[in-house]
C-alpha cells in the first residue's frame, strides 16, 4: 500500500486498463497533449498515441455518440466530459441511445462505455476552483440514477476511484463515473501497490466507519465530512456509522438496510441539491425496507435548491459539517 492523490488514482486506472486491453480508448476535450484540463489523463497520449487517446472538437453530443457507436462494435471508450455540467449537451445520447441499446436490440448489442464526469465544488474550500459558479459546479448524478440502462458510481476515496474505474471499464453496460473534482488534489489515501489489479465491484457499498447509534449515508465529498462529524460526536460518546454506497445504481440496499436495522436512525447527505436528489431514493428505500427499524425521521442534508453560487459563497448553499451534525443530533433527539 502507498498513499496517492484522488486524481492520480483515476489516472492510474486509465493507464492500467489501457495497457491491459487494447480495446480501451479515451476520448474527450484536451485529453491528449494537454493531459486534460485538470490533468486526469496525463501521460496517456504519449504512451498510447492518437489513435487510442482522441481529442475531439467541442461537440459533446457528437463525440458521445461516436463513443457509443464504437462501443457497439466492442471498443471500450472512456469518455471525458470536461465538467459534469456540460453533460447536458450530450444527455440525449446517453439516455436515448446508450441506456436503451441493450433493451432495444434484444441484447444483441451493448454499450460498454464509461462516461467520466468531474463534478461538484471543492467542499473544503481550499485548493483548485473553490467554486466556478452555476455552470461549473453541479452534481447531476440523480438524473442518471433515474434512467434504466445506466449504472452510476461515485468514488469517495483514491482506492475506490481506482477500483471503481477499472470495474466500470470492464463492465458491459454504460457506466456513469462521477469524480469529485474538488478532491483531485486535496484528498490522498492508501491504494494497493502499483501492479496490483485493484477492482471495486460495482454494486457494493462500503461501511466507512462502524457505529451503533445512527447511520450517515454519504456520497462523494460528503463521506469525508461525515467521518469528521462522526469523529467529533464520538468524543461525546455517540457512535455514528458512515455508509458510502459507492455505486448509486444498482444500489446495495442490503448494506444500507443492515446499517439502519442496527442504528434505527439515519441521515442521508449528498452535494447535489435536495429536491429529487439521490438522497430521496435512499430515504425512500429505507422508509420501505427498513421501516420497522426506524426510530426517528429520515433526515436529508443536501445543497439548497438553487444554482451553486460562485466562489466561497458556495459554502452557504452546500451541505457542510455543521448541517450534517445538526441532522444527526436531530435524529438522535438531542
Amino acid at each position: 500500500m502507498g498513499s496517492t492523490l484522488y486524481i492520480n488514482a483515476i489516472n492510474r486506472a486509465l493507464h492500467e486498463e489501457m495497457a491491459r486491453d487494447n480495446e480501451v480508448v479515451a476520448i474527450g476535450l484536451d485529453i491528449g497533449r494537454q493531459g486534460g484540463l485538470f490533468g486526469v489523463t496525463r501521460g496517456l497520449f504519449e504512451r498510447f498515441g492518437p489513435s487510442r487517446v482522441m481529442d475531439t472538437p467541442i461537440s459533446e453530443a457528437g463525440y458521445m455518440g461516436a463513443a457509443i457507436g464504437m462501443a457497439m462494435e466492442g471498443v471500450r471508450p472512456v469518455v471525458e466530459i470536461q465538467f459534469a455540467d456540460f453533460v447536458t449537451v450530450a444527455f440525449d445520447q446517453i439516455v436515448t441511445v446508450a441506456a436503451k441499446m441493450h433493451y432495444m436490440t434484444g441484447g444483441g448489442k451493448n454499450v460498454p462505455i464509461v462516461v467520466r464526469l468531474p463534478y461538484g465544488v471543492n467542499v473544503s474550500g481550499e485548493g483548485y476552483m473553490t467554486g466556478a459558479g452555476p455552470h461549473h459546479s453541479q452534481s447531476p448524478e440523480a438524473w442518471f440514477c433515474h434512467c434504466p440502462g445506466l449504472k452510476v458510481v461515485m468514488p469517495s476515496s483514491p482506492a475506490d476511484a481506482l477500483g471503481l474505474l477499472k470495474a466500470a471499464i470492464r463492465d458491459n453496460d454504460p457506466v456513469i463515473y462521477f469524480e469529485q473534482k474538488g478532491l483531485y488534489y486535496t484528498l490522498s489515501g492508501e491504494v494497493p501497490e502499483d501492479g496490483e489489479d485493484h477492482i471495486v465491484p460495482i454494486g457494493k457499498a462500503a461501511v466507512r466507519r462502524e457505529g451503533t447509534d445512527a447511520t450517515i449515508v454519504a456520497t462523494g465529498a460528503m463521506v469525508g465530512l461525515s467521518l469528521a462529524v462522526a469523529e467529533k460526536l464520538a468524543g461525546e460518546g455517540v457512535s455514528v456509522e458512515v455508509v458510502d454506497p459507492r455505486t448509486l445504481v444498482p444500489l446495495d440496499r442490503e448494506t444500507l438496510v443492515a446499517s439502519v436495522r442496527k442504528t434505527g436512525r439515519v441521515v442521508v447527505t449528498h452535494e447535489a441539491s435536495q429536491t429529487g436528489g439521490f438522497g430521496a431514493e435512499v430515504a425512500a428505500v429505507l422508509a420501505d425496507d427498513a421501516y420497522a427499524s426506524l426510530r426517528a425521521p429520515v433526515k436529508r442534508v443536501a445543497a439548497r435548491d438553487m444554482p451553486v453560487p460562485a466562489g466561497l459563497a458556495a459554502r452557504a448553499a452546500l451541505p457542510g459539517e455543521a448541517r450534517i451534525e445538526k441532522a444527526v443530533r436531530a435524529v438522535l433527539g438531542k
Partner: protein, 320 residues
Amino acid sequence: MPLDHEQLVAMYRALSGTRIAEQTITDLNKSGVLRGHHSGLGHEAVGVAVGMAVRPDDCVQMSHRSGMMLSHARGGYSLREAVLSQFGRAPSHYASLPGRPRTLTIVGLVGTWVPMSVGISMADRLRGKDTVTVTFFGDGAANEGAVHEAMNLAGARRLPMVFLIENNGMAVSMPTSEATAASDFAARAAGYGMPGVLVDGHDPVALHEVAEEAVARARRGQGPTLIEAKLIRWESHANGIADLRTPEEIEEAHRRDGVRQLRDALIGQGILSEADADAIDDAARAEVDAAVEEGRTAGFDMTVPPPMDAADAWRLTYAN
C-alpha cells in the same frame, strides 16, 4: 462504373418488388389492417440504388423511409419478410442478423441516431478494416445539432463515411423551404470540408452512380461525402396524419416516379421486353400477396406478456 444490363435488370427487379411491397403495406395501413406506418412510397430509388453500391460488410444506418428498400437491395431480406415484419411475424429490416449485410440501428429521435454511425466508422478504422459506413437521414433531421456535430467530426477525422440526406421536401408538415434558407443541403458539406453532391432522388441510375463514387472515395481514404437526394414522398408523413400538400405537389411526385422511368428506359433500350417487365412485376406481386395472406392468417402478435418482476426488467435492460 456504369451498371451493366444484368445489374440494371436486378435494379428494376428490386425497385418493382419494393414498390409493390410498399404500396401494399401502405394500403393495409390506410384500410386499418395495419397501424402506424411511415410510407416509403417514392423513396424506393434511393434505397435500392445505395443498397447496390455497398458491400455486405459496409455498415448502413437506414432511415424510416427507404430502409426496407435498401435491405432488400443489399440481399438477404425478401419481400415476404418485408411484409411479414409488418405483421410482427419476421424481423424488421433494421435488425442486424448474423449472415446478413451489416446494418446499424436507428433510434426514435431523428438526428440523434447519426453520431453513433461515426463511431462505427471509427471502430472499423481502429480495427484496420477497409469498410465504409453510410448513414441515412431526412431533410428535417438535418437541422438537428447532433447531425452537424457528427458530420463535422467525420470530416475532421476524414472518416470513410457517406451521409445521405433523403430530402423529400417535408418534415411532417414543415416544408424544407421554410425549415432552412439554404438553397440545398449539399451546400452544408463545405462547412465540414467534404464534397456535397446533389442528385435527383427519383433517378436510380444517377443515385447509384453518385453513391458508388462516394463509397469508392471513402474506401480510398479520401474521407466522407454528403449526398443530398431530392425527391418527393407520395404519402403523408405517416398513416393517420393529414397531408397538407396540394394535389399538384403529389402529382409531380408520381410524374417523376423513378420505378416507372427505369422500366420505360429498359424497355426503350431493349434490355427488357414489356412481357419481361410484366413478369418481374407479377412475380413480386405474387410474393407480396402470399405474404399478406400469411400475415393476416397469423394475425398480430398482441399477446400480453406475463407479469415482469425486477429481475426480468434488469435482464432485459442490462448486459451484466
